[in-house]
Symmetry: C2
Subunit: 363 residues, 2 copies
Amino acid sequence: MPESPARRCPLSSQRPTLADVASTAGVSVSTASLAFSGAGPIAAATRERVLAAAAELGYLGPNPLGRQLRSGRSGIVGVVVGDALRRSFRDPVSIQVLDGLVSTLGEMGLGVLLIPGPSDPAEPPVDPLVLSAGMDVAVLLWGSGTHDPVLEALRRRGVPTVVVEGIPEPDVATVGLDDRRGMTELVQHLQSLGHESFACVTLAFDRQRGDGFVEPERWNEVVWQVTRRRLDGVLDAGITPTAVYETPASLVEHGKTAGFAILSAPQRPTAVVCQSDLLASGVVLAARELGLRVPDDVSVAGFDGLDLPWLAPDVLTSVAQPLAEKGATVGRAVASLLAGEMPEPVELAVTLRPGTTTGPAPR
Amino acid sequence: MPESPARRCPLSSQRPTLADVASTAGVSVSTASLAFSGAGPIAAATRERVLAAAAELGYLGPNPLGRQLRSGRSGIVGVVVGDALRRSFRDPVSIQVLDGLVSTLGEMGLGVLLIPGPSDPAEPPVDPLVLSAGMDVAVLLWGSGTHDPVLEALRRRGVPTVVVEGIPEPDVATVGLDDRRGMTELVQHLQSLGHESFACVTLAFDRQRGDGFVEPERWNEVVWQVTRRRLDGVLDAGITPTAVYETPASLVEHGKTAGFAILSAPQRPTAVVCQSDLLASGVVLAARELGLRVPDDVSVAGFDGLDLPWLAPDVLTSVAQPLAEKGATVGRAVASLLAGEMPEPVELAVTLRPGTTTGPAPR
DNA sequence: AAGCACGGTCGAATCGATTTGAGGATCGCG
DNA sequence: CGCGATCCTCAAATCGATTCGACCGTGCTT
């Protein structure tokens, strides 16, 4: 019974490959492949033999790179977080969506490749990974602007893309939020409480990420879609804010700075509407430090519907967005793109959630 | 002059490949490859021709998968975050290290693949990505336990690995922290302020992630290394805590729960030493809500050295660890592994940073 | 007994690029 | 005019697996 020639690890001084295993086991490469993948009929005895040979040679299992080339799939989804990681990850919204996304994609056997978004306006706007990483699909988390350079690059590479809270376009999948209407409802709620003078604390207008009051002329020159829609939502209610304050990022400290600026100004508004809960909680903290009572002296509202335990005993009035569902929806859109379809744009609903930081207008 | 046969996109109904471009341009595949990679001498005119052909065919650039197979490298570093993303990402420590890591690796042309660590004790402890993703190196962020199943799996696959704050072992690179000594110094600092009764709030002991007081018998049965070292550091100071409270994760709300439990117990300690700043700030909040003055009635200290603006006007006494440097150090370790070397274990220094939440012991 | 279905195995093609050593053209110089 | 040096270009091998179609026995059907 001629056993196959007793060459263990024929040429490869390196790691053994499937071919080595096959030759050691005395079977063909295809059979060896079958033994591992299980994608075809194979006799139990044969599989045993292959597995034994693999163990003997110290074969570490099929090399993913080979499989990937063959299948044309890397199993990797590139997720562009819309800002420097340091900032993005301090934002519970990004995190929760990312978490939902990782879970959903994980169940589909896909991994998430983290790609930093545009951070410093000075730096080149597109991370090299966007240009070269082997990803099956890309996700632009957290908005795109008009003529977004990252989106352009992905288009040029022909990478199917899901844009979250961006502008719906025919060649990309879109998962949006009904945040514009949500903001309008929030303002109307405040109006029904008697408020007439409103200040707004917004997210960044564009890559410059300004930090300070914005003149009315610029109110409709917002590049970043999230900021734009939420501001438009406020204006839709038919009011004219006494002030609009732009912050560079959705962080408590920026909210606090904005809060101090707004609440210590000569004509203080009775309500401050913020584009995120973190900004809003910063404003609440500023108010407290200024000795103002919330909501007796000033009402503060946010957006996102986060749990902020350290704001206790206050509960922020907010517009809640379905964070986990957002992640799952993006996951489904990714699956759809992978299947070669172009999913319909989705717009998730938001719900007004009154808390203890808003109340009747003073006087 | 016989132009190559005018077949645009010869067979491939799919995307054009380098071969298609080459045949359209009337050159060989190798030459076409050179035109893109630039790794060899090529006439300017030829390159032009290849590039023109590529443009004409709508060639989207070299397929990363092909390149990866050839080079044997995916350019991807798998980062296992030590907990469910949702929780991990609410921890500024993980985030800042991850941020530093992504930057460092990004400069080296490497991408970060996010791999969820063990979350639910019920679930299988190893994410499928650990078993199958095509990564060049893996990083276990945030500690490993003894006989960590994830580490075992990576070993079996032969993936070079960096372990952060784990047990130094010969076949993995290690980046550690001198947290044990830091904790001892912290306790000594409190002792010098006259404190004699200490309570400890710890991170999770093991995958079970208990939530409550731990009997002294179990104090040396800690699986999770980070928890173990920091607890040992406290014991090194020669004290016996009046209580040790285990929390399931480093989050403010868990600190708060622990704080209520510890501070409303019959014999209240004068100092609470926490294994993270988030836990410590939870304890501060609990103290405030219980009407206790910090640090007059009780001193609270943490670990990590974070900026926690919303704790204002208090500044947490803490032991600061060099977060950005940690990320960079891990990055260097990864580079070293990729170069085929095994880097020496690194132990980063921590520094005591007194704040306003600790003071002389009462009475 | 011929024919058929089927489980099991194998050979060869394929995925898409990189890389090496060989070879051809051109040029300069003796 | 010949020889060598230089500069490009190309054919072929390679990376490591998957997969399709062919092939070959068995065992069962009619």
